[in-house]
Assembly symmetry: C2
Homo-oligomer: 254 residues x 2
Amino acid sequence: MTNPTACLLIIGNEVLSGRTQDANLKFLATRLGEIGIPLREVRVIPDVPETIIGTVNEVRAKFDHVFTTGGIGPTHDDITAECIAAAFGVPWEPHPEAWRRLEAHYARQTPPAEFNAARQRMATMPRGASLIDNPVSIAPGFIIGNVHVMAGVPRIMQAMFEGLAPSLRGGTPVQSRTVHARGMLEGAIAEGLGQIQKDFPELDIGSYPFYRSEGGGVALVAKGTDAARLDAAAAAITAFIVGLGHTPVVGEPS
Amino acid sequence: MTNPTACLLIIGNEVLSGRTQDANLKFLATRLGEIGIPLREVRVIPDVPETIIGTVNEVRAKFDHVFTTGGIGPTHDDITAECIAAAFGVPWEPHPEAWRRLEAHYARQTPPAEFNAARQRMATMPRGASLIDNPVSIAPGFIIGNVHVMAGVPRIMQAMFEGLAPSLRGGTPVQSRTVHARGMLEGAIAEGLGQIQKDFPELDIGSYPFYRSEGGGVALVAKGTDAARLDAAAAAITAFIVGLGHTPVVGEPS
């Protein structure tokens, strides 16, 4: 069985302008791999309605799951929800349960805060959306079709994702094996490594140089869903490095 | 005059798997903004030929400049150059000057290193490509059409970009003004801020919550190319925050 696939849309001018360092890609890539829904593409797009609508419609047809981060707050540039409604061709309207949660949340503040028009936007969603809980700051994300709409603030996004994760039907977890070859250069091992990739066509074998004060080298990484084949590939890589007269380090975190 | 636009392609399984934290997006977004070629989209794509070829052809038609990072080393998963050749429909062949530089580089090592088949791949490029110098590790990037192909290792990519930057025909630099409103919540200022955005349609006005141990708040950021209008927008935002009884901090780094 092939694993389902995922695409991540990072929505927001602040990432494209360099103001904000994205911190969501790595988290979601890692967690999605662990639950067997490998991330196959990421797009970072601006707060422009046509771009959001067009991109959502393109990628929701192309991947099994789409995750979005950003653009669901109360300000004028938070336009993700209305764009997703437009992409699905459904009304953007108050979501009763989201409305109830937010109304209660602002009433609970000391002194009570106003559940004003801007905050009501956060309870306005595409018709038919189901909620993604937000244990950090209440304002929920939502799911419509195969699109999961989450906050951009990493702490909130991570809490949303962890609440959502048990309901995602994943595949076989993606695992990896890493062999570190210190003091070696990619160019010296490329040919042998290419042969190992040919011997393990079902795995992704990658080579990543690292640079450290105590001396650099190359991290050789095998990724895939079959643990026995991963072990065999790690053994083959280790034997190859030993054959070149070096002492590889297996599994050391890079 | 409208500024030219840029798209960044981050090519590599290691970013999509969560193994590697991308460090190139923020650098390029910032530098491209400074030289007036704002980044309008980023895609992170895997080492899959059809995906690379299809994406390059899509985005080079859509944006004025395309920059790629990753996949130009000597190993079997470094397939960017041959995919770009396929995208442009030209042969992938030895580039005489790149070949000369790399051959000399390996001959200079003590003891001399072999300029083997894997390393020769790094001197193999789409026909008609012009080189991007690599002052760090010699193996050049290249330009073909409006596509600029650079290394994935941040230190090397940055050196390549800085060598390239003077030759890029940019537009008006994108500047920003930031006003920090400590202790304020987005929901309380969203409506007024939306009005300011309406008054300055040529600017992008964004609102970004920040969280710090000494107390959070919202950073209000205006971006655009007209310095006088940016100053006016910053003044309007400041007056708005003062009107709400708070003391904004202008220009403090966030």
